[in-house]
Symmetry: C2
Subunit: 353 residues, 2 copies
Amino acid sequence: MKEKKNVTFSDIANYTHFSKTTISRYFNSPDSLTLENQKIISDALVELGYKENKVAKILANGKTEFIGIIIPDLYHHFYSEMLNQILSTYDTFHYKFLVFVGNKNEETERRYIQELLAYKIEGMIILSHTISSKELAGLSIPIVAIEREDEHICSVNTDNYMGGYQAAALLARHKCDVLVHINSDTSEKTPAYGRIQGFSAFCRENRQKRHIILKKFGHSYETALEQLQTIPDELDRLFPKQKKGIFISNDTHANVFLNLLIRKYGALPDDYLLVGFDDSPISREAVLSISTVGQQIDKLAYEAVDLLVGQMNERKKRRPVLLKEPVHKIIPPILYRRETTEIHAARSGAARE
Amino acid sequence: MKEKKNVTFSDIANYTHFSKTTISRYFNSPDSLTLENQKIISDALVELGYKENKVAKILANGKTEFIGIIIPDLYHHFYSEMLNQILSTYDTFHYKFLVFVGNKNEETERRYIQELLAYKIEGMIILSHTISSKELAGLSIPIVAIEREDEHICSVNTDNYMGGYQAAALLARHKCDVLVHINSDTSEKTPAYGRIQGFSAFCRENRQKRHIILKKFGHSYETALEQLQTIPDELDRLFPKQKKGIFISNDTHANVFLNLLIRKYGALPDDYLLVGFDDSPISREAVLSISTVGQQIDKLAYEAVDLLVGQMNERKKRRPVLLKEPVHKIIPPILYRRETTEIHAARSGAARE
């Protein structure tokens, strides 16, 4: 493996008998040259085997075409699918992504951000929760948050309130005696808090008995299991012989909870109905397909990058008009009715065919 | 949000009364200045609010600290966990990652690689299968492959042969009448082909009846389900009343297959034993925990980055000694015995408690 020497502006100048300034103009404002001279230089590039050096170009025009991403984990299917969808926008926008994973602590995350800024990223998409939007707003680049506290920065979120409301309404339609919501101990400032509010609002408006369980689930299967595994016994004790409609804040945990019930009872009992959140792959792959409030992950990702690119482009104008207030885009959720809310379809019945 | 003007070398030179050349030397070979002068300049940087510009630094010393990654998808838990582990090596090696997802076609992938090269990545980790290792070896940067065809490039792989052998041995120990292996239609050149070879070798050596099913599973749940859902009926027809030991090539598919069996029979029947591959989270989260040949994903990721960094550092030496032959590191698998190979533990029995 022998390395080829890089072709420099001097080499191109020597070859074409133009000055280095002319070569530089070719790369930075080609229209300032005649078409004929552009052709001579572009032919020379092929002849010399010139390889584009974006790093050099960046120094000339300041555009790195980099977007930084900080995502809390890739364990939750919501996050890995979100990262997949964000990276896939390359085909549309041609921005490249520098990715950090971690939701560890403020210091680590500040170091990540300093690294990203040192590489002159043009914008950042942030899903981790560690640093306040107030601090982020102080950074001098466009930032878009997805599903995290976003008071002072732009964001794209699912309509979580509507999602919680829809989940409760679906469970109530099946005449549950009590509606139970299981969620993380969510800050009122994060969009996901809307799930608790929407759920509670439906119950209040419809005088439906409700019970809310908030726990710290962590970022792995083991920590989530530890918190979830005591809940079936707890619910059986609190609500014996009552029909329980359970709304769980994400499909990953809904799947763990479904499996706990099936392991306890051999099948999903008729007095348990289950709705998750996200429509991540696991909701379809579970032993019974899980009804879920679907987040349109592809749309969230696209809108986030689109909103970011808009601001990045604005800053490249001679007189950029910066946003006076952060923009918050809301994407509606889609309710998927599947087997965990259908008493007569699969579960014990059809599961045994 | 007002943008601060960048502090330039001229600003620092004016402030400190050093020449711009001296300032440049401070950044590129600080030891050529006295400690006293280094201190004067570093104090000035704080005073002026200088922000490190790695892009400028790159042009000076040619080190971008970028590694490119091309990964086929983030749907399979093996890949999302692998990406997570690779990105986590930042804490050790301080390299930054430019990530592309896709296993689409040669042209798209070549474009990804051209993009990465244009940004002067120092090395690349490749998991996608589209481009041959011969073509990749022609690129003038260090490359490490993980679990893909690797004849002409360095790689880190699991000992797939041993994994297949161990899976078959575990199933045979439980006195299965027939051992069945379900896998993709894998090329003999990919490391994962070793799983088929190891499985077959064990069966041959131990005169064990075997049956191999190869299908195209695609990169999503829907395509995998379509292929997997006919298999239980097929096996019941081919091997009625025989004890079937099934080895499936990854945990994601093993989970789908387990759920198909449970939906068909209401529980995992006593004449079905199941072993997956990877030890990805789903193998623990499934309704019955799935026995699996564990890939040490953290080790694979660490060794891949370590091998790459070694080569990248070599190239920074004045007289680099490049590898004559590609290095192939092999990481042993770890067998996890869980509920899908324990007849008396969970399944129908304990599942009903």
